[in-house]
């Protein structure tokens, strides 16, 4: 882990009625660390992320960000949504400026920061466009810019590239890595893609079981900045296999089903 923990999840548990979703789940994210969360669909990884964002409440345990207990959304946290979450009635500029405008930021500062964010994600020239005029990839670039412009201390990524076509997804993954290298910050990256989890993360946290708990934590020792060549490296492939087994091998004594 690089630096002190920015995010601490301690003994988190969550129930929906009779359904136990999370139980005794603990993890940390460092100040300049990307932690990927993978798990089978329905394992509650997005729910966990929403709890960290303050959108859902835990039934037990605690979430702290920079020592501050999360009970509602904190201003130092930003989020990128799976389906982009742009407001269709705002143009790209206004969508990206949304968070700053809510905080009554001075106009010239909004101007400066939004321009920089638009430049950063490569959307210059599309400021006046409405979301329906843009491709999914461009919409998510805007979603990313909207989160980054807040200069968050913790960035929450809720399967941000899963609704985007495969080619654009790869492109955006490396662009996000490039942006992160310029301004490293704590990031919690929820994904259902093992490749993506390994590619993005400094650590990969594997959630599994019902209720979900941390089944394994894998440290990713791939060098940064991460170039496209890493996906072909033996270290990458080995790690991907490990995570795969973490996910799909049943623990012995639990109807053991060993997969190749």
């Amino acid at each position: 882990m690089n630096g002190d923990a920015r995010l601490v999840v301690e003994n988190a548990s969550l129930r929906y009625g009779a359904l136990d979703v999370l139980s005794a789940l603990s993890l940390t994210v460092g100040e300049r660390e990307i932690v990927s969360i993978v798990g089978p669909s329905g394992c509650g990884k997005t729910t966990l992320l929403r709890c960290v964002g303050g959108l859902n409440q835990l039934n037990g345990g605690e979430i702290r960000i920079d020592g501050q207990r999360v009970e509602k959304p904190l201003p130092i946290v930003s989020m990128v949504f799976q389906h982009f979450g742009l407001f269709p009635w705002k143009n790209l500029w206004s969508n990206i400026a949304y968070g700053l405008a809510l905080k009554h930021t001075p106009k010239d500062e909004i101007e400066r920061r939004v321009s920089a964010a638009i430049e950063l994600v490569g959307l210059k020239g599309f400021e006046k466009s409405y979301p329906h005029q843009l491709s999914g990839g461009m919409q998510q670039r805007a979603g990313l810019a909207r989160a980054l412009v807040m200069e968050p201390k913790l960035l929450l990524m809720d399967e941000p590239f899963s609704a985007i076509d495969a080619q654009t997804r790869e492109q955006l993954q490396f662009e996000l890595l490039r942006i992160w290298d310029q301004r490293p910050t704590a990031m919690m990256f929820v994904t259902h893609s093992i490749d993506e989890a390994v590619l993005m993360g400094d650590r990969v946290v594997v959630l599994a079981g019902r209720p979900s708990h941390v089944r394994a934590v894998r440290t990713v020792k791939l060098p940064r900045p991460r170039e496209r060549s890493v996906v072909a490296s033996s270290a990458f492939i080995e790690l991907r296999e490990q995570v795969w087994h973490d996910l799909f091998d049943q623990p012995a004594g639990n109807g053991a089903r060993v997969q190749q």
Binding site: F87, P88, L102, Y130
Partner: protein, 268 residues
């Protein structure tokens, strides 16, 4: 190659359907056909259903001198008061019902009861309790025409996607900011489509209220022709009212298009 050709022909059809003149042309053809049918029907039917040309002649005469314009003046007042109440009360109640759960629990059933009740059947009660004056007319007219606005707004405000609310919460929106940035813009298209219907229905409401509560305005003019079975008179007044309604709905459409310009379809 076959696929390529079918694409070409689909493209040609797409271009034709989207040509700027195609819609006005279809509109013009439909009007010409309608008028021709009317003309032929009128000639064979005689005085009970006069032809289009005769109707126009009568309309022109009634506009020169006659009760049409004074009647319009009286009806406009009721019409616009009705429409204004529909918009303010319909949108306000719709939002309140959607956002305040207890309010909805208490009042929503009554709204559907009123919606399902033929307003005409309430007219005697209205006249007994409130009399035959302007206020009673407004009440009847509003009861006839408010529901599209009310139910449209309600449906819109109830269907705000959770994701929009999540985004607002994550970026620290206050309740007032949530209304300004999310609820109002999201609900606007729903409310507008209700308002557009209400623009036409308010005309019906106005005429019905005038008809049944001590005839006045355009309804009185219409009634005058009906009692003496003067089909030229009645058709002229009807055409006059219809023309005004078409213009008003058209204006509503322009306002709607401006307010929800962000919802225009993507090109290509």
């Amino acid at each position: 190659m076959a696929q390529h050709q079918s694409f070409e022909s689909r493209l040609a059809r797409f271009r034709l359907v989207n040509a700027w003149w195609i819609r006005p042309a279809c509109y013009a053809v439909s009007i010409v056909v309608l008028l021709a049918v009317w003309q032929a029907f009128g000639h064979s039917f005689g005085v009970l259903f006069v032809p289009f040309t005769e109707t126009m002649r009568r309309l022109w005469a009634m506009l020169q001198s006659g009760p049409l314009l004074p009647g319009l003046l009286v009806s406009s007042k009721l019409y616009f008061v009705t429409l204004l109440i529909n918009i303010v009360l319909g949108v306000g109640l719709g939002l309140a019902l959607a956002r305040i759960k207890l309010f909805a629990a208490a009042f929503e059933p009554y709204i559907y009861i009123l919606y399902a009740t033929p307003t005409i059947s309430l007219v005697p009660f209205v006249s007994v309790i409130f009399g035959f004056e302007f206020g009673s007319r407004v009440l009847v007219s509003v009861l006839i025409s408010i529901f599209p606005v009310l139910l449209g707004t309600l449906e819109g405000a109830r269907s705000i996607p959770r994701q929009h609310l999540d985004v607002a919460a994550i970026f620290g929106s206050s309740e007032a900011q949530l209304w300004r940035d999310v609820i109002v813009p999201y609900v606007t298209p729903f409310a507008m489509s209700g308002i557009k219907q209400s623009i036409a229905l308010s005309m019906v409401g106005t005429l019905v209220a005038e008809f049944f509560l001590n005839p006045d305005g355009l309804a009185a003019v219409l009634l005058q022709g009906t009692t003496i079975v003067d089909s030229g008179w009645v058709l002229a007044v009807t055409v006059f009212i219809a023309a005004i309604a078409v213009v008003l709905v058209g204006i509503g459409e322009l306002i709607e298009r401006y307010l929800v310009r962000w919802r225009q379809q993507a090109v290509g």
